[in-house]
């Protein structure tokens, strides 16, 4: 049993599952065309595992859509091996093709080696490289759309963080140029972390992995605590933040100048300044 705080309704596991499936289905209908090859970014943790499970359930009726799972192995000793095992098991169980790319393959070094001595920047560096690795892996396997397991909490936090940083391009997502990057979708963005966890537990697919040893999310941690409190005293806050962002982005579309992208002079990856962020990290000591 679960209580939906926004409506005050109690839901049994069956109804929670149906409600989540409905939201994911709606997201897919808007974003997925026939013939699509969906690459699921699978870390092996609970969110991406639930995403894989739901897409597998929904797409088993749609023969015109192909699913494959993509995992980035950053090279984090004592942490990534566990989630890799979980990712392998779940893809085997659902008979979904699974491809892995390592940081070593794209940079020559593991994350552990790359951030040694600058651990406080590890999440930023990892995020930039992970995005690059995922795009490469997706391109290599003919993926037409990338699905990530970001949930309602993640998305609401990111929107507020962009506000607090005064980062308008990221807030309005004018940086996501779809003619250079494989488009990304977030089918779980209207599903809360609590719903995902309860659903995974009820379906017997819950995976509790240790937190990443490089969890230097100073601002995100602050924003998370604040948002969780607001969600408690004013249920529906996170959903309203997403609705607000979508409205602002829609009404400003065409007004904000799209930032032109040029190839990185070192690796060819599209970027703003002629040197992409991952090459910048790799070159700086």
């Amino acid at each position: 049993m679960y209580i939906d705080r926004a409506t005050g309704h109690h839901q049994c596991h069956h109804h929670l599952g149906a409600s989540i499936l409905e939201r994911v289905k709606k997201a897919l209908e808007a974003d997925i065309k026939p013939g699509e090859r969906i690459g699921i970014a699978l870390s092996g943790g609970k969110d991406s595992t639930v995403l894989l499970y739901l897409l597998h359930t929904l797409c088993s009726e749609r023969k015109d859509i192909e699913l494959l799972a993509l995992t980035v192995d950053e090279g984090i000793d004592g942490y990534r091996e566990h989630s890799l095992v979980a990712a392998r098991e779940v893809t085997r169980r659902f008979d979904i093709a699974h491809h892995v790319i390592t940081f070593e393959q794209i940079t020559g070094s593991s994350l552990d080696q790359l951030v040694s001595g600058r651990e406080e920047r590890s999440c930023t560096i990892c995020g930039v490289l992970r995005r690059k690795a995922l795009q490469k892996l997706a391109r290599d396997h003919g993926v037409t759309v990338l699905a990530t397991g970001h949930c309602l909490n993640d998305e609401a936090q990111t929107i507020l963080m962009n506000c607090f940083r005064g980062d308008l391009p990221h807030l309005l997502r004018t940086t996501e140029s779809t003619n250079v990057y494989i488009p990304r979708i977030k089918p779980l963005q209207m599903v809360s972390e609590k719903e995902i966890t309860l659903y995974a537990m009820g379906e017997g697919i819950y995976i509790d992995l240790p937190e990443c040893p490089y969890a230097y999310h100073a601002l995100r941690t602050e924003v998370r605590t604040m948002l969780d409190h607001l969600e408690l005293v004013s249920p529906g806050t996170m959903e309203r933040i997403l609705t607000f962002q979508a409205r602002v982005a829609a009404s400003s579309s065409g007004i904000m100048r799209e930032i032109p992208l040029i190839p990185c002079d070192r690796c060819g990856e599209p970027c703003i300044s002629g040197r992409c962020r991952s090459c910048t990290f790799l070159e700086s000591p």
């Binding site: 209580i3 109690h10 870390s43 595992t49 989630s83 972390e193 966890t197 995976i207 409190h229 408690l232």
Partner: protein, 65 residues
């Protein structure tokens, strides 16, 4: 006695009086949005009221993945 097992492995005895799980969490300084609660081994909404010999287990929702 209602016995509560916390995410950090600590155990707290919360007395005999019936109390809503939500209020119990509040007393313990835990935001219900951030945890999942099981009563006597079954997942339960925080609107439920505890009874004398209940065993409550609080799981912290892990981030990411």
């Amino acid at each position: 006695m209602v016995r509560v097992y916390l995410p950090d492995e600590n155990v707290r005895d919360m007395g005999q009086d019936p109390i809503r799980i939500e209020d119990l969490l509040h007393k313990l300084g835990i935001n219900p949005v951030e945890v999942i609660v099981a009563r006597n081994g079954e997942l339960t909404p925080e609107s439920e009221i505890t009874l004398g010999e209940d065993v409550i287990r609080v799981y912290r929702i892990s981030h990411g993945g």
